[in-house]
Symmetry: C2
Subunit: 198 residues, 2 copies
DNA sequence: AAAATGACCAAAATAACAAAACGGTCATTT
DNA sequence: AAATGACCGTTTTGTTATTTTGGTCATTTT
């Protein structure tokens, strides 16, 4: 019997997790207090500590759940019938769009920019690492199938994410923003085809 | 007669510039005071304001000088006989190495990380923009000569810088550091040749 | 007369201190 | 046995006093 997924009449653990998820997304890591989470979850503060050793572990669990959601989005987007490049573009687009619309990620990004909260930064890095690891898996498969030239899958996945982000958000004031179509076209150009003449 | 380059027995303007350059490099923008610069330059504080309207203009002049130095390094590295790809790699390597060894850039980077000083950030962005603009010029020429496939030179230069930085510094904890040779090989692979199979 | 200066000022940064809020514990209650 | 909230040492925040800073300008120096 799995004690973590079990639905009791009053599932206090789930209540805590849901209240914490809402609070971290609304106020960020630093401004979320354990008293607040306890009140929102309708449990005593001490109860939280029967499930989670401390605030950090509670937060890490919330981040783990978000990463699992991202994986679901990615798996739903992946189509084995499509060529690697199309899957890559579709997955990057879907996963990053989901990520950027997710309240928790938006709030944590703001918190890192504004206060540099180490925990918030750690959470965002964990999310980024999981995206890279997921892409790296597909890159590895594509290499095995001979769809792309051999390389270190992890490094290639990292470079792809960085390039995609450079074309979309991060560029900021250094180049005028590109619409979705332009981003896809440029990503194909820079990352897949290369600049060299034939 | 050029009053700015003229060498008088006591060239106060130059004294101020040199003292300011040393101070900004040693203490950053915020922690450099005008009293300190005046003392180090051996002039009265009021004298600084006969040459520069305020602290910001003095700082901007120092940054302009650094950018000019970077341009000299780049021009010295550029070899018209070499193919575009080789020049690009050499220039990126030389310019970024010079930049990263320059006390002012190192200190300003630390200041931005630690305090987010807007002026320090603005200075670093000006340096980055000037590097991109310089590379863009060479990209434009390479396109005209048919050495690389057509594209927006400014965007391409921006992407090249981002990729190079992703392979060297910025990667940080997300991939193990690569030595100079590996960086060059990977940069060629990702940026110039592309991932697509022939 | 022109250039240079440093005492001076309002505004901003910092230090010092008091008060409030925080994460985490545990004796007590349910 | 599970849940709780009053409680505790520590950290964070709010407040005020003090210092420092960028910039000016009447005076001095050249």
């Amino acid at each position: 019997m799995d004690m973590t997924t079990d639905r009791k009449p009053t599932d206090r653990r789930k209540q805590v997790l849901e209240a914490a998820a809402r609070s971290f997304a609304a106020f960020g890591y630093k401004a979320t207090t354990m008293d607040q989470v306890a009140k929102a979850a309708g449990v005593g503060k001490g109860t939280i500590y029967t499930f989670f050793a401390n605030k950090e572990e509670l937060f890490e669990q919330i981040v783990r759940e978000l990463i699992a959601e991202l994986k679901v989005v990615a798996e739903r987007t992946f189509d084995p019938a499509l060529p690697f490049a199309d899957n890559l573009l579709r997955i990057l687009q879907q996963v990053l769009a989901y990520r950027d619309r997710h309240g928790l990620v938006v709030k944590l990004s703001q918190e890192v920019r504004e206060f540099g909260t180490p925990m918030a930064n750690g959470g965002l890095e964990a999310i980024e690492r999981s995206i890279i690891a997921y892409i790296a898996g597909h890159v590895g498969e594509a290499i095995a199938k001979g769809e792309v030239r051999p390389s270190d899958p992890a490094l290639t996945a990292y470079m792809m994410l960085k390039m995609y982000l450079a074309l979309t958000a991060e560029g900021g004031h250094l180049h005028e923003p590109l619409d979705a179509e332009q981003v896809l076209a440029h990503f194909r150009f820079y990352c897949l085809e290369g600049l060299a003449v034939d």
